[in-house]
Every structure is written in C-alpha cells, then in structure tokens.
C-alpha cells in the first residue's frame, strides 16, 4: 500500500468528507421518497449504488470503519432489492443509524461509533432472511457485487476547495480598497496638474515654452493614467462580482438537510408533518447559508414542537391531521427572503406575557400595556419561552434570542407574523452576499456615520411645513404613510437636537416591517466598506453595528438599523416646525449638454427646488422674462448667447438684476473667473464629476 504524504492525505480526506456527505444526503433523500411512496424500484438500485460508492471511497482513504459501515448499509439495500427484506420501519431506522454513524465518524474520527454493536444488529436482522450474510460482512469487497457505474459528472463543472475561494474573496476585498485609494490618488494628480496649469498661465519668462511642453506631457500622462484607472476599476468590479457569484449556492443545500430532522422530530412528538420547500434554486453566499443552518433548524423545530398540534387536536380544530411546515426562499433585489411557516396553533401571546414577567424582563405595568406587536417582539428576548418544559430541541428560552443575534450578525433582520390558531411565519431577510457593505455616509454633530444602504429606503429634504404632529409624535408623510421622524443626534445620545426652523435632510430607514425617518446634518455619499464588528470588551453597543475604515483612512461608525428603529419608536422626541409656509425656490438651469442639464435638474429637484431648464442663453432670457426665478445656474460655453453674455444681460436688466447668477464650468481658468465676476456673476464654481456639494452650498448661501 502506498504511503501517502501527510499533506496529500489531508487534502484527500477533505475531498472524501464532502463526497461522503453528498452520498449520505442523497441516500437520505431517496429513503424519504421511498417511505412516502414517491419512488419505485429504480430508487433501490440508486440507493445500492450510492452505498457502494461510499464504501469504495472510504476504503480508498483507508477509513476502514466507515467503509465497513457503508458495506452493511449496502448489504441491507441489496437484500431489499432481491426482495429478501422489506423496507419496514425497523429497516429504515437501521439505515439511518448507520448513516448517522458515518456522519459521526466523519466529524469525530473513526472511534466515534459503535460499529461492532451496529454490525451485530444488522446481522441479526439479515440472518432472519439469509444465513450467508455473516460472511458477507468482511472487509474485502465482495467479488459478486457489481461495479457501480460512475455518476456522469458534467465536464463543465469542477470542485474547488472552499478555503481557496475564501482566500480569493479576502484578496478581492483588499483589491477593492486599493482601487478606491488609487482613484483618490489620480484625482489628487489631476489637482496638482491644475495648479501647474495655473502657474503656467501666470509665469512670464524665458522658460514658458518648455514649461508648457512639460505640462502637456504631464497632462497626457495623467489622463492616460486615469483611463487605465477606469479600466482597472471596472475590471475589479467584475472580478468582485465574479468571486461573489462563485460563492453562491442554491438554498436547496440548506433546505434538504432538514428533511431528516423534520421526520425524526415529527415522529418523536407523534405528529404528522408535511415538509414543503419552495424557491430551492434561490442563491445565497455559502457562508451565509452555513451560518443560517442553526437558526433555521431552531425555527423549524419550534414550528414542529410548539406550532403543529397533535393529529387529534388538529382534527378537533377542524384542520387536516397532517400539519405543514414550509420553508421558502426568494430573492428581492440584492436581498434574499427566507420564510419558515407552519399552519399550527400560532404563538400564544398570553404565555409570552407571563413568561416575560416571570423572567423579569418587563414589569407588570409594562406587560399589561403592551400591544400584540410589542409582545410578539418579546419572543426574541433572552429568557422568554412559551414551552412548558425544557426539551432537547427547543424551549430553552435562548433559541429565538440566538436566532435574532445570528441574523443580525449577518446584517439581516427577522420579522414574525402570528395568526393565532392558524399558524405562524418567520421571515428572515438577508443580504445575498457578504464582504463589502454599501453604506450611506451621513454627518451628525461633525462625525461621520454609515447606515447600511440595504436598510435605507430613501433620502429626502424635509421642509418645515411637511412636518406634522400626531398624538405627541413628530411625523412626516411618505408614500401616504405617517413616518416617525427623529433626529439621529438624539438617538445617538449626542445631545438635544436643535429646534428645526429650516428645512433639513432626512434618511428613511426600514427594518422588518417598520420605518422611521432620521434627521441628519448632512448626507455625504455612498461608500463600499468592510464593516468590522467590535471585539471584547465591546460585546454589543446600542445602535452601533461596528466600524469601517473609509478610503481616506477615517473611521466611519456603522449604525445598526434594527436598533435605530427600535430606539426611535421607544423615544418620542419632537420638532418644532416653523408655522408659516415658504414657497419652494425656483432655479433656472442654463446648460447646453443634455446630460449635465438632466443631472443638475434631478439633483436640485431632489433637494426640493423647483427647476426650470434652458438650452442656451437666448432661451434663458425668454424664460426669465416670463417666469419669476430666484436663481440662475449657468454654464459658460454655450451656442448663441454664452454664460457671460447672459450674466451681463441679467445684471443690467432693471427687473432681473437682483437674481443671483452662479456660473458653473468644468475647467478652472483665472481669466474666465475674472471675466465672470466682472460681468456680475455672484459665484463662479468649478465642478468636477458628480460633486454637487459646492453648488448646493452656494445656492443655499445665495437664496
């Protein structure tokens, strides 16, 4: 026998483990189908082959005890095939026992299973049918056993070690950070180039020509660099998406693994349960799938243990004897919703109330005041359980709390829908992939905070007259719903918010089924960051999920949307809105490029301005004479009448000269600036890309 090198053997064992798990999974699957009568003779053939392959594979890596166990299972199947045995409950249990044994040995090493005990049990059963089985039970392969046909493996697929994918993912994460840094550097280089160009325009000596040449060379170089940088960016993005998609696995991997559990649990509790699965092809990051196993198992066992009634109870309640536990998955944008639903008795809110009182989580007064929805939320608290006694699977009062924690760690949320007497549905909302998180960066009290973008419904500019007071709460109307409005500074305990007299920016976030509006000082940008959770001693900080390091090295504190919503609905701060109602200001945008025009219009409108547009100075003149405008934002280079001419015309017009004019250009030039101010422009803005902060600031300053 060849002695394998240690590293190689280790690798081989990993491969074997995943193969063995697949065999076990498939055998379980087919056994369940056979039991339900959904599969026929051909399934037996398959079962035999699966067990045989498992045996062979185990022998190849010298795991004799696993091989032998597989052999026993194989023998059972061969006897059933030859009709010497029938698929009785006893036999089914025996096969499962063997499979569990193999799983244990895979997990804990070969000593983890009483093979001898199992072998004598199997032989006991087999000897009832035939006497030659005892000698079949040998390590050498039976020459009679037919060689299994290899399963056709698609040539377009290959198996990859997951740890390699993880490493790749990590590297891609670093690449993404690096990409942002390089982009910043290029911007910086362009800024430096601009200052050289300014210097060039003001020097007046013999070296002017040489300097000019050097600058053009530098300009060519930097613009080539920028073009390369764009290419790298888009490639990085593609690689990132690609690696993320490599890690996607259909939820069937997870869902199928619960078949056994449902069957065993239902049997133990004497309940009839049909396990339904839907949306099996929905894909999720495998890491998330792995992390979901435990909370899902908990929800499913809860559904069977607490939810589904005994057949007698169900009959009495006029329900079919067989209860249904359903798991379903579906994607929604970049999120995946996973539901665990049962048609059992639902959650008894009175028991929740009692349990919460008993464990001292809430006071008696609070308990009595609590509405159904609030009570329902208590089931996620530590120490609350509706189970009368502690069982092996559920009812320890830590379960749902753990579910909540786990899902929260995955940056997801949990919602629960209770229909007393009819059933209960838990919905887990999870991101499809992990690693980087898009956050909306907001400014409050001079500090930057990130809100995970998947929880942001929208951002908006709130005018004082839109703020309403509704039984002591401050609300705004959003999509015909009254949404509670809270200053973020208050939620973050950064002092009392100032009384809002003017319009302000707000972010509407939603978690579960509830939304709140958060008033912030400023909306900065969206940024892709790697969110780092805190470590001991910071085990859990209220309203804060973790922190991220921004591309510029600054720390962004990443907020916990679920907590924020809870905090907001707990505290009831109020705004004092200004009573009178100011008209929205009207801005005329003059710009010959349709893209820029549309962009500026959208941005200004999103900040609550009325926007009119003109394609050139001539059109602008007509509009200005017909409509009252509060401000003009104009490009400089335009056909017919250019920005300078338009400005001069406005500033010399007796009725219009009070209107502030902002000249916007994409290229900075001292001469232009001077000329602009000479003709009477109130501001001259150099704008680059999509940075409109300066424009908005200037508009705010002027009107």
């Amino acid at each position: 026998m060849t002695v394998l090198e240690e590293g190689m053997l280790e690798q081989l064992l990993e491969v074997f483990k995943s193969e063995a798990e697949e065999h076990i999974q498939r055998i379980t699957q087919m056994m369940l189908q056979l039991e339900k009568g959904e599969a026929g003779e051909e399934a037996l053939e398959e079962l035999f082959r699966e067990a045989h392959s498992l045996k062979g594979a185990a022998r190849a890596v010298e795991l004799e005890r696993i091989s032998e166990t597989a052999h026993l299972i194989e023998t059972i199947f061969s006897k059933i095939k030859s009709k010497e045995l029938s698929l009785s409950d006893e036999i089914v249990e025996l096969v499962y026992e063997g499979l569990d044994g193999i799983a244990q040995m895979l997990e804990r090493g070969e000593e983890g299973f009483d093979l001898e005990g199992y072998a004598s049990k199997v032989n006991g059963v087999l000897s009832g049918s035939s006497s030659e089985d005892a000698e079949e039970r040998s390590i050498t392969p039976s020459p009679k056993a037919e060689e299994p046909k290899p399963r056709p493996i698609s040539e377009r697929m290959m198996k990859v070690d997951v740890s390699k994918l993880d490493l790749l993912m990590e590297r891609v994460g670093e690449l993404v950070t690096l990409r942002v840094t390089v982009e910043e550097r290029v911007k910086e280089a362009i800024r430096i180039l601009r200052s050289f160009e300014r210097i060039y325009r003001s020097i007046d000596c013999g070296l002017r020509d040489e300097f000019k040449e050097a600058i053009s060379e530098l300009r060519r170089f930097i613009f080539n660099l920028r073009a390369d940088c764009f290419d790298i960016s888009s490639l990085t993005k593609e690689i990132e998406e690609g690696v993320k998609s490599l890690r996607l696995q259909p939820v069937s991997f997870l869902f199928n693994s619960f078949d056994r559990m449902v069957r065993d649990l239902a049997k133990r509790e004497g309940k009839k349960v049909r396990f339904e699965k839907a949306g099996m092809e929905t894909e999720l990051d495998r890491k998330i799938l792995e992390e979901l196993r435990e909370p899902m198992a908990h929800l499913i066992s809860n559904a069977i243990h607490h939810g589904i009634e005994t057949p007698e109870e169900r009959k009495k309640a006029g329900k079919p004897e067989e209860g249904v536990v359903k798991v379903a998955a579906r994607s929604q944008g970049d999120k995946v919703l996973i539901e665990v639903e049962d048609d059992g008795r639902g959650i008894d809110l009175e028991k929740v109330r009692e349990s919460a009182l008993r464990s001292g989580i809430i006071s008696r007064e609070a308990a009595e005041e609590m509405g159904d929805e609030e009570l329902l939320r208590l089931i996620f608290k530590q120490g609350v359980s509706t189970a009368e006694e502690v069982t092996e699977i559920s009812g320890r009062g830590v379960g749902l709390n753990a579910v909540w924690d786990k899902v929260e760690k995955l940056k997801g949320s949990v919602a629960v829908e209770n229909r007393p007497g009819k059933g209960c549905k838990f919905t887990l909302c999870l991101p499809m992939t992990i690693v980087t998180t898009k956050v909306l960066v907001v400014k409050v009290g001079g500090a930057m905070f990130g809100i995970p973008a998947s929880f942001v419904e929208r951002t908006l500019l709130v005018k004082p007259e839109e703020v309403r007071r509704l039984d002591g709460r401050t609300v705004i109307l959003y999509e015909d719903k009254a949404i509670e409005l809270v200053p973020l500074a208050w939620l973050l305990e950064m002092g009392e918010p100032e009384i809002e007299e003017e319009e302000f920016k707000a972010v509407i976030i939603s978690s579960g089924s509830r939304s709140v509006g958060l008033a912030v000082d400023d909306l900065m940008r969206e940024e892709e960051v790697v969110v780092q959770g805190f470590e001991r001693p910071l085990l859990r900080v209220r309203n804060v999920l973790g922190a991220a390091i921004s591309a510029d090295g600054r720390i962004i504190t990443v907020l916990n949307p679920g907590d924020l919503v809870r905090s907001a609905l707990k505290r009831r701060p109020s705004f004092k809105g200004k009573p009178e109602k100011p008209e929205p200001k009207t801005i005329l945008v003059v710009e010959d490029s349709v893209t820029t025009r549309t962009l500026e219009r959208n941005i200004l409108e999103s900040f609550g301005y009325n926007v009119l547009v003109a394609r050139d100075g001539a059109e602008a003149k007509e509009i200005l004479q017909a409509v009252n405008c509060d401000l003009v934002v104009s490009d400089i280079q335009m056909p017919n009448v250019d920005g300078f001419e338009l400005t001069a015309w406005i500033k010399n017009h007796p009725n219009l000269k009070h209107i502030p004019v902002i000249l916007v250009t994409s290229l900075e030039s001292e001469e232009d600036k001077k000329k602009g101010l000479e003709v009477g422009a109130d501001a001259y803005i150099v704008k680059s890309g999509f940075d409109h902060e300066k424009l908005l600031e200037t508009i705010k300053r002027l009107i």
Binding site: A447, M448, L492, E493, M494, Q532, F534, E535, R536, P537, L538, L539, R540, V541, R542, N543, V544, G546, A547, A548, I549, G553, R554, I555, I556, T557, D563, R566, S567, K570
Partner: protein, 161 residues
C-alpha cells in the same frame, strides 16, 4: 577562532538575551504615562505599542469610559479611558497617544497625554481597593494589573436597545 572574535561572539550572545526582569532589583519593568493629572504604569510585556492618537472616532451610545474607537493598522481598536474606570473621573480633552495593551487576546487602546518612561516596577506598592490596580507607588504612579483590567467586567459593554 581568534580571541577577539570569541569575545565579540560572547558579547553578542549576552546582548541577544532578553533582559531578565525578575532578576533585576525592583522586579518587572513598567511603562509609565501621564493620563490627565495622574500617572499610570503598565507592565511592559502587555504594552503592544504606543501610537500618536490621530485617527479615532467617538463611539455613540457607549458608557463614558469608552473614549472611542481607533484605526490600528487597518483594524478597529476600542479606546478605553483607564482613568475614568479607576478614578471615576476621565481624561479631559484630546489625548496625544494611544497605548495599546494586550492580554489573553484582548486588545485595547488607552488614551494617554504624555509618555513618562520605563521604570522597574516598585517593590513596595500601597494597596488600592480596585480589582485591577496592583497598587500605588510612592511617587503616586498607579500600577495597573493589565490582565485583570482587560478581562474585567467593568469595561465590558453589552447593551441592548
């Protein structure tokens, strides 16, 4: 081998030895910092590094002893105000340094105003009734037991909304 080479080798071996603290008079070494109006000493084997405190952010909704979180080589490191924990009164204004303490896998930055120096740990310490202070030296330096400080329940933050 020449006598000179032998001598140099011997010397190199001697220098390669870690300083045998326990054999020195006064026992282990402590790094001493001024934090507010007080002086704090930490066993140097628990001092991971000392860095200027330039990039940090305050942490909302946390107890007053949490000074914030800092960027420590790309990782987020919590900053704990040791003065606040021990004396009840915290550091005032912006600290200049962060002293990164590490024990049992727990890593925490402690903001400090000034680096005083490294000294042998005084043999005699006036006892203080604090679970993580070994005692106070004659010159008023509070010697912190870093291990129990970092494992202490007193600096754990675990709060639900």
């Amino acid at each position: 081998m020449s006598g000179e080479a032998e001598l140099l080798k011997k010397r190199a071996r001697l220098y390669a030895q870690p300083p045998a603290c326990s054999d020195m008079p006064g026992g282990d070494l402590i790094a001493v910092f001024r934090i507010g109006g007080s002086r704090y000493g930490f066993g140097i084997k628990h001092v991971n590094c000392i860095k200027p405190l330039d990039r940090f952010a305050p942490l909302p909704c946390s107890p007053p002893f949490v000074y914030g979180v800092a960027n420590l080589r790309g990782r987020i490191c919590p900053l704990i105000d040791v003065k606040k924990v021990v004396e009840g009164e915290g550091i005032e204004g912006k600290a200049r340094y962060m002293v990164v303490l590490e024990a049992d896998g727990v890593k925490v930055g402690v903001p400090a105003d000034e680096i005083v120096g490294i000294f042998p740990k005084p043999r005699e310490l006036k006892s203080c009734d604090s679970e993580f202070v070994e005692g106070m030296s004659d010159d008023g330096t509070i010697v912190v037991n870093v291990e129990s400080f970092l494992r202490s329940e007193a600096i754990i933050v675990s709060e639900e909304v």
